[in-house]
Amino acid sequence: MANERINKIEVPEDRFEMRLSGSGGQGMILGAVIMAEAIGSTGEKNTVQTQSYGPEARGGASKADVVVSSNEIFYPKAMKFDLLLAMTQEALDAYYPDLKENGILIVDDTLVTKVPTDKHYGLPFTQLAREEAGHVMVANVIALAAIAELTGIVSREALTETVLGRAPRGTEEKNKKALEIGFREAAKLKK
């Protein structure tokens, strides 16, 4: 009897679980670090950030998790995602099955062509980074801005402060631009 009850248990509701995924070099781990810091250092909520740590620095699949909760966070990794960011088709195919039924899916339209659901947000992060922000490397920052705008999990101000606090000297303007693009494009999707 107890056994059947355990099987039906869902991931606790007090957890908001994010997975940021793409390929090595797209800045998914840094993106998760920024998100965890922006949410946790400015608000009341606890955050934990983990990643698959391995030699996949360039090219291979890369993923990083952020768990957010008002309570103590026990298990540090994401179990069922409330939000999945997929920057590549490979990442989407690998992690989509663990997206919650009402979870938010955000994909990079530039690189993802086949999405198994209509319920998703698509933005060409890589293309926007390259063509409008001036460097492909800030695609992750555009994506973070879009996550903030679409979920409200962190304020524009807190995210901006954290991104600029971590940006290497000389890249502030590019990052500011990237944030603006992300906020703007995501706001359009909300309408």
Partner: protein, 378 residues
Amino acid sequence: MAQKKRVLMLGNLACVHGAIYAGMRFYAGYPITPSTEIAEGCARELPRIGGRFIQMEDEIGSIAAVVGASIAGLKAMTATSGPGYSLMVENIGYAYMTETPCVIVNVQRGGPSTGLPTKVSQSDTMQARWGPHGDFTAITVAPSTISDTVSETIRAFNLAERFRTPVTVLLDEVMGHMREIITLPEPGEIEVLERVRPTCPPEEFVPFERTPNLVTPMPRYGDGYRYIVTGLTHDQMGFTTNKPEEITPKLDKLRNKIENYKEEIIKLRVEMMEDAEIAFVSYGSVSRTAFQAIDIARKAGVKVGGVQLYTIWPFPDKELAELCNRCNKVIVAELNMGQIVNEVRRVLPPDVSIHSLRRYDGEILTPMQLLEKLEEVL
């Protein structure tokens, strides 16, 4: 009072923060994944506060330098992973025999040998107890949160100084590379113990005197208190001895200075054990999985509780037996082929059925795996 600053901190850097808070001013090490950020952090921070960082030629040299620095009077630490710890064990044994306080951090990865550099494991749990040859009692602590990593590293230094002994901090790859929001302790918020130094005139100094609590005041080398530091079995004056009547008391000192004060050392986290019929016993990163599984199972009405071992060595024989005496079943979850489970079997009454949940594929145990095991044994 101003609200404390909340910072996102990496596990390995929390260890550095705790060490500096505790007064560490000397670090010698040889970088190895997944502990490297500890060496990086010490290299960055120690010169700023008048401390010393040395990257040594290898792990053998690293622990040798740490022992030397401690004898000279500094609080000293090294950090490594399993392969490096294996190289260090001879000189860790020397630190036990010479009763030299120091802290050794092992950020565990898969083994044996070079094993799995980037994958998590808890397979050095027994090595922390029995690494060096010979008889001695070891102290080992294992945090499971980033905040704990700061406070347990401070505690490790305090225990090392209090008992004049090496203390091992067992982290693992998940702990080392996880980031978590924490508030850092203010100066003075956590007690920091200092080494007891001799107050007698140097000519009356007995370097390994069997004091009432068996911990001998320790001078700084160069302060005029002359004594011999040797790995050979020695008498109270520090001189090498083969006399049976000196050998036994020396070994008893190494054991009893710790065993007689276990209550000061044992630290556990106990959750939901009041009415628990079944208990998870765990340590390190797996405790996070265990508390998650307990939280989920409790909501389903299962009377399950958990005990986390912050102190792994000396093993909490009495405490664990008392906590689990009302349980019918205990599940020991660990990232190895079953190391602590045998200690649990040793201390619990024979009518408690003990189950072992092991994982050793380089990944952390998940709440679902614990819940499945719970279902299986219920």
